[in-house]
Amino acid sequence: MKRPLPVLVEETVGAPVAPFLRFTALWIQITGTWCNLECTHCLNASGPKEPWLPVMEAAAVRRAIGEADALGVKEVYFTGGEPFLHREILPLLSESLRVAPTTVLTNGTVMTPAIADDLARLAAAARYSLEIRVSLDDVDPALNDRVRGPGAWARAVHAIRLLHDRGLLPIVTATELLSGEHPSAPGTYDRFRDFLRSLGITKPRVKVMPVFALGRLEAGATAKLDEAALAGFDRGLLQCADSRIVADGGVYACPILAGLPAARLSDGGLAQAFRPAALYHPTCVTCHQTGMSCRNA
C-alpha cells in the first residue's frame, strides 16, 4: 500500500540538514524488517514476526535498479531483514550485477551449499564484483548467540566456509557490542581477523561497525545533532550525502533509518529523493562522531 509522503514531520523541524552531493550507493531494503533472527541490537528491530516494514515486491526492486542505472549509481546494496528470505533474491542479484557492483548483507544462517553455488556462478559470470557480507558479533559461539540467538554462530560460520570454499571472499561484519567481553584481548578487528585465519581463510576481510542507539537499543537515546555540534564539520562526509535507500513505500536518506517517516524523502522516485536530508535522529550523532559508513569501504 502506498503511504502518502508527510508534508511536515515534527521530528525534523529545526534539525540541521546534510546536502545531497552525488549518487554513489543505492540500498535496497528488500525484505523490509523480515528476518529469521531477532538480534538484541538490531538496528531496525527485524524479526520473524509480521515485519513492521514490509518485504519489497520484485517489480519495485527492478524499477529502482533501472532508475539507479540511468542516474549513474556506483554500487548497489541489498539488505533487510534477511535478504536470502526473499524468494527472488538470486534473480534480483543477477539483474543488479548487470548494472553495478552489488553487495548483499546477510546473517548467513540460511545459506546452503546450493545457494552458495548459485552465488559463485553469479559472481563468475558478472563483470562487476559481488560482495557477500556476513554478520557475526563475536568469535565466541556462546557470546555471539547471546546476541543473535541459539545456533546462529555455527550457521554463520558454516556460511563463511561455504562462501570461502567457492572463492567468494566474504566480508565478515562485526559490531563493537561485545568488545567489553574481551578486555585483555586484541581489538575487535584483529580478533576477527585472527579468527578467520584460524578457519583457514587466507584473505580475511573484516568490517567493524559501531553500535547504534536504534531499533532494540533505542530506548533512552535522546542526544541529537544541532548546528553548533556540526560547526566546522564537512557534512558531505556523511553517508546520507551520497546514498539513498529504497524500501517499501518510499525512498529514505539512510540505510538504518529506512521505514521511519521522518527519514522518507520521496514516495518512490529516486531522483525526487536527491535533496537534503534532516539529521534529526539520535543515531545521526553516531555517524557524526565515528565517521562510519555502512558501505564496504
Partner: protein, 280 residues
C-alpha cells in the same frame, strides 16, 4: 641538463586557442616516490614519439626519498596534475586523504605519509600546490579529460570491477568529454562504452599492480579515427629500490611488494574480483 622528452603543451597545436591538441600522449599515475621507476618510464617514453607526457598525480607515498622525483618531472616537461597525496602535502594535512576505511590500510597509509611528509621540501610542497586538479586535451578528434581519482572526487577509487558503465557515461556526458583518464587505484584498465566514449585507468608506476611481477605500467594513447590504447610495462632495478626502502626503515611489507609484485598492504578496499587475483 637532461633532454626534454617532448615539446609538451607549448609545442602542441591548439584548437579554439584553448585546449592543446596531440597525436600521441603517454600518461601515468602514482609515482609514489619511486624515482628509479619514473626514470625508467621516461627513458622508455623517449623512444615512443609522443607529443606530451602526463602524470595524473600522487607523487609521494610508499617509496623512499620523495624529493628525488620532482626534478625528473620538471626537467623533462611532464605535465602533472594533483592527486590526493599532493593535495595533502601541499596543504599540510596530517593524513594522505587516500580514502581508506580499514584499520590495517590506514596504519600503513599513516606510516607512509609521515615518512613522505617529513622528507618533502617546502619548495616541492609549494610546487604541488600549483598543480591543477584536472587537465583537458584534444587527442585527434577526441576530447580528453584527465583526473586523479574521478572527475568528482579526488580520492574516489574507480576499480575495474566496481565502476559501472552508467557512472562512466554520466561522467563523460556531464563533463563534455569523449575520453576520461584516471588513476588512484593502482591497477590499470580500459573500457569502451559502446559509442558513448572511452575510459582508461592508466595505472601507476610507483608499485607493481598485484600481478606477481615487479613491472610497473604506463599508458600510450594514440589518436586514430578511434583512440588506440596501449599499456606499456616498465622494468627497472626494483631490487635496488627495495634495499633502499629497507635502509630507510620503511615497512618490510612495502619492500616485499616491490620485489614480488604482490600487494601486502592497502588490500582491504579492493573489490572481490581484484582481491581474488592477488596472493594476499
Amino acid at each position: 641538463m637532461p633532454q626534454r622528452l617532448t615539446t609538451g603543451a607549448m609545442g602542441a597545436r591548439t584548437r579554439n586557442g584553448a585546449t592543446p591538441e596531440y597525436r600521441r600522449i603517454a600518461v601515468f599515475g602514482g609515482v609514489y616516490n619511486n624515482a628509479p621507476a619514473l626514470a625508467a618510464t621516461l627513458d622508455d617514453v623517449r623512444g615512443r614519439d609522443v607529443d606530451a607526457v602526463f602524470c595524473l598525480g600522487d607523487l609521494g607515498g610508499f617509496g623512499p626519498h620523495p624529493d628525488r622525483v620532482f626534478p625528473l618531472l620538471r626537467e623533462q616537461g611532464v605535465l602533472v596534475l594533483q592527486g590526493n597525496y599532493d593535495e595533502a602535502l601541499a596543504s599540510g594535512r596530517t593524513d594522505c586523504g587516500c580514502g581508506y576505511t580499514d584499520p590495517r590500510d590506514n596504519y600503513f597509509a599513516r606510516v607512509s605519509y609521515a615518512y613522505t611528509f617529513s622528507r618533502t621540501s617546502a619548495a616541492n610542497r609549494a610546487w604541488l600546490a600549483t598543480l591543477p586538479g584536472h587537465r583537458r586535451a584534444q587527442l585527434g578528434a577526441h576530447r580528453v579529460l584527465m583526473c586523479h581519482g574521478s572527475p568528482r572526487v579526488i580520492n574516489e577509487f574507480l576499480w575495474e570491477s566496481a565502476t559501472p558503465d552508467g557512472l562512466l557515461r554520466t561522467f563523460l556526458r556531464e563533463r563534455h568529454a569523449d575520453v576520461m583518464l584516471c588513476t588512484h587505484t593502482g591497477i590499470k584498465w580500459d573500457r569502451s562504452l559502446d559509442g558513448a566514449g572511452r575510459v582508461v585507468n592508466v595505472g601507476v608506476i610507483g608499485r607493481p599492480e598485484n600481478d606477481g611481477t615487479p613491472a610497473v605500467w604506463y599508458t600510450l594513447l594514440t589518436a586514430t579515427p578511434d583512440v588506440e590504447v596501449q599499456f606499456v610495462p616498465v622494468r627497472y632495478d626494483h631490487e635496488a629500490l627495495a634495499r633502499e626502502m629497507e635502509r630507510e626503515g620503511l615497512p618490510v611489507e612495502f619492500a616485499e611488494t616491490i620485489r614480488t609484485g604482490w600487494w601486502t598492504t592497502c588490500l582491504e578496499n579492493l573489490p572481490a574480483k581484484e582481491r581474488a587475483r592477488g596472493r594476499f
